[in-house]
């Protein structure tokens, strides 16, 4: 199944897309997508309930977070109460080692996103801080990637032995589905997504929507 692992709704300060409009867009365009993840910036959205939209559109809609570390931005899948209390999601200087360790302790999974992007990408900090320990997976394909960012991410992920996922990083509806992750196994919950990410039965895909 194909999931877009990185998107933002109006819950994010820079998000301009309502979740129901993402669903309508996917249906209207007939996108080859089984679901998507909302990874709101610097917060955990514990309130929103998208089950009615899931039923209406036949999509899996999961929630995650995008937090900020000294190594750049990191997607966190499987956020729960323990993890919410482990560090301040609004802090823009959370140590990456804290995010990785606490995610692991709480049964979640952390994935540095757009890793080849300047300043907000993990690889851009390797010269200063050295390779990050404990990273297993990076977002090799990001829908907002410019120039050679995604090619560089694929190359560097292979060099460091990281597995890769894809996410659109959509902030407006028409950007969803540009980069996705294809899983060999079915996923029906955030727990199953975390389990899948811990394995290696998936791959990042870039989708030409034009």
């Amino acid at each position: 199944m194909k999931l877009d692992l990185h998107n933002h709704s109006i819950k994010s300060d820079d998000g301009r897309a309502k979740v129901d409009n993402y669903c309508k867009w996917i249906a209207k365009r007939g996108l080859d997508l089984d679901g998507f993840v909302l990874s709101e910036h610097r917060q955990w959205d514990g309130e929103s309930d998208y089950r009615a939209l899931e039923d209406e559109y036949g999509l899996l809609i999961l929630k995650a977070s995008e937090v900020e570390t000294e190594y750049g931005h990191v997607l966190v899948f499987g956020v729960n109460d323990d993890l919410v209390n482990a560090f301040d999601f609004a802090d823009v200087r959370i140590p990456l080692r804290t995010v990785l360790a606490e995610a692991k302790r709480c049964g979640a999974f952390a994935v540095p996103c757009h890793p080849s992007r300047a300043i907000v990408g993990m690889f851009s900090h390797f010269d200063e801080f050295g390779p990050a320990e404990g990273v297993e997976v990076v977002e090799t394909l990001n829908g907002g990637g410019r120039g050679t960012e995604n090619d560089d991410a694929v190359h560097l992920a292979a060099q460091y032995g990281y597995r890769g996922v894809g996410g659109s990083d959509a902030h407006i509806v028409s950007h969803i589905g540009r980069c996705v992750t294809e899983f060999d196994d079915d996923i029906a919950s955030i727990e199953q997504l975390v389990t899948a990410l811990q394995g290696d039965r998936y791959r990042a895909l870039s989708v030409d929507l034009d």
Binding site: D13, E68, A90, V92, R117, I119, V120
Partner: protein
Amino acid sequence: MQIDIEAVKKEHVGFAFDETTFDIKAETLANYARGCGETEARFLDPGHPDFRAVPNYASNFHGRRNLPENFPADILRSFDAGKCVENLAPIRPGDTITGRSHIHDIYEKTGRSGPMMFVVHRMEFTNQDDAKVAVVDWRLVMRLGEM
């Protein structure tokens, strides 16, 4: 620019710093709607029984100050990061609208170009009957640190 954001938040968030009144004229509402490309008569025709301001009209209001006095950032070095308008009741000709400003939030984020500080300037608008008609959040972004 080095700013202690937590200290700035503590000093400025939640405190009103400006109050301005606006008299609403039919011709102004109609011209604004026309400028927006609106086509509905209730926004364009002052003779329409439900004539009112277009939904984004409150974003047109500006107070006398954009930031509180002594705010530690230069407005000339900031830029507009967008506005969010929440409409609560119609704005109509003849209304006298009062806008009260406060800093609703200040937060930091990191983007491709480096660290930034966002200031959310909230204006709450009430009419002559003290009914709240709109809330506008205006985000200002300021770059922090070295480029």
